[in-house]
């Protein structure tokens, strides 16, 4: 049987990187989106999987970069079975606080929306010809525990939160269009993860944080296994519980 093929965005580190590892171990040919120049973890992994790991330059803030990545992927495949959107922008100064010390920075709000919500939507549109020829037709999006309006308890710092809520809406609308065409969806809430450093070590700020390897292993089960109720779009937590919008 021919290897299945997956595209993973935001694969430089953390959950995205661990998802790439999991997929390679399962025999997938993986196109791994690379953005961070100071992380070389994918290059090291390439030594282990020279035939099945393809590192692709991919900046989710740039539509042109997404189109360039599409052209590069098309050089070695004419189909994709699995799409995993993991790239996220959550850096920047605290400039999305009401009455905060800094004025609200609308440029950073828009960058957040572009990377976290618009980028995945553009990716699906641009890679659609390859996804159409894939057998699995599964679209997976990494959202966040803080994207739930219903459970919202933050009192400031809304930039990342609102961008992930917008992503949830984009996924809902993609689901409306594509489920009837045979696509299935996963919207995954990985929890609060420890950050992976350039050397692969993990930085921890809280005991609540979970390891990205653990979150990736759980995600694989959710991403690759079929569900009896595929028609239902649900945000799933790493602990297996549904998460309200």
């Amino acid at each position: 049987m021919e290897n299945r093929k997956a595209l993973v965005t935001g694969a430089d580190r953390g959950l995205g990187y661990c998802l790439v590892q999991e997929l390679l171990q399962r025999g997938y040919i993986v196109y791994a989106g690379k953005f961070l120049e100071n992380y070389q973890l994918l290059e090291k992994l390439n030594d282990q999987y020279p035939e099945t790991l393809h590192i692709v330059r991919l900046d989710m803030e740039s539509e042109e970069s997404i189109r360039a990545a599409y052209r590069e992927v098309c050089l070695t495949t004419d189909s994709l079975d699995l799409f995993i959107s993991d790239a996220a922008y959550m850096e920047g100064p605290p400039s999305s606080d009401f009455q905060g010390e800094l004025p609200i920075d609308t440029a950073l709000m828009e960058k957040s929306l572009q990377v976290n919500a618009l980028g995945p939507l553009i990716c699906v549109n641009v890679f659609f010809p390859l996804l159409e020829r894939g057998e699995q037709k599964r679209l997976c999006f990494v959202s966040s525990e803080v994207s739930s309006i219903y459970l919202s308890n933050r009192t400031n710092g809304f930039r990342y939160l609102m961008s992930k809520t917008a992503l949830n809406m984009a996924v809902r609308m993609m689901h409306n269009s594509l489920f009837v065409k045979g696509y299935t969806f996963r919207l995954y809430q990985p929890g609060y993860m420890r950050r992976m450093q350039p050397d692969g070590s993990l930085m921890s700020r809280s005991e609540r944080q979970i390891d990205p390897q653990y979150a990736a292993a759980i995600a694989m089960g959710q991403f690759l296994n079929d569900k009896p109720d595929e028609q239902r779009l649900e945000m799933m937590c790493y602990n297996g519980l549904g998460w309200p919008f």
Binding site: Q99, I104, A117, L118, L121, S148, M169, M173, N176, F245
Partner: protein, 202 residues
């Protein structure tokens, strides 16, 4: 009392202004320079879906339209709210009012087009949720309202009725609820209601 409207240029915002004035509530807009001004109502009126928001995920995404719409429907009114908040602290009303739409309900959205509007308003709902968490303990109250002048529903209402019912919704206090139903009291959680009085899920 004074209502601050984020803009007065659109026909709908003029209807809103008239409806406030009919209730003897003054209407202001633009930059507030007098530091003694007390604003009772902040009203964000930006709600029109942009022309051209008809693409879908298969046939092409107009990323510029999405970003422009976000800037207009989210960034601008949120910045305006942040600027007006210091003028609301001395008000007895302290009411923050936004127009939105049931189209932006992630639970209920059945649309395949309208990404620019729906994503922007969904993002706005989260920002308002954060604002609610921050300011509700300081006795601010919120009104998030679908005027039903556009969208998927059959029961559209005229702009005149929508403006009137929105202002009515802004100014009135909500019905008494028993204390043991605290979480169900409308002013103790952020909700979105439409012109027919229905609450929409997020």
């Amino acid at each position: 009392m004074i209502a601050y409207l984020t803009q007065l240029s659109s026909p709908f915002s003029q209807l809103l202004a008239n409806a406030f004035r009919q209730r003897n509530i003054d209407v202001v807009s633009g930059i507030l320079s007098d530091t003694d001004t007390v604003i009772d109502f902040f009203v964000a009126t930006e709600n029109n879906p942009p022309a051209g928001d008809t693409f879908d995920v298969i046939n092409g995404i107009d990323s510029k339209l999405i970003m422009d719409t976000f800037s207009h429907l989210v960034s601008a009114p949120v910045v305006a709210l942040n600027q007006v908040l210091p003028f609301m602290g001395k008000s007895d009303m302290k009411r923050i009012c936004f127009l939105s739409s049931s189209l932006a309900s992630i639970n209920m959205c059945a649309e395949t087009t309208g990404y620019a509007y729906n994503m922007s308003k969904a993002a706005l709902h989260m920002i308002l949720s954060v604002a609610w968490n921050h300011y509700q303990p300081e006795d601010y109250s919120f009104r998030l309202y679908d005027p039903m002048t556009q969208g998927q529903m059959d029961h559209r209402v005229t702009a005149e009725i929508a403006a009137e019912t929105f202002v009515e919704y802004c100014v009135k206090e909500r019905a008494y609820d028993p204390p043991n139903m605290r979480k169900e009291r409308n002013d103790e959680r952020l909700i979105m209601r439409d012109a027919l009085g229905r609450e929409w899920p997020w």
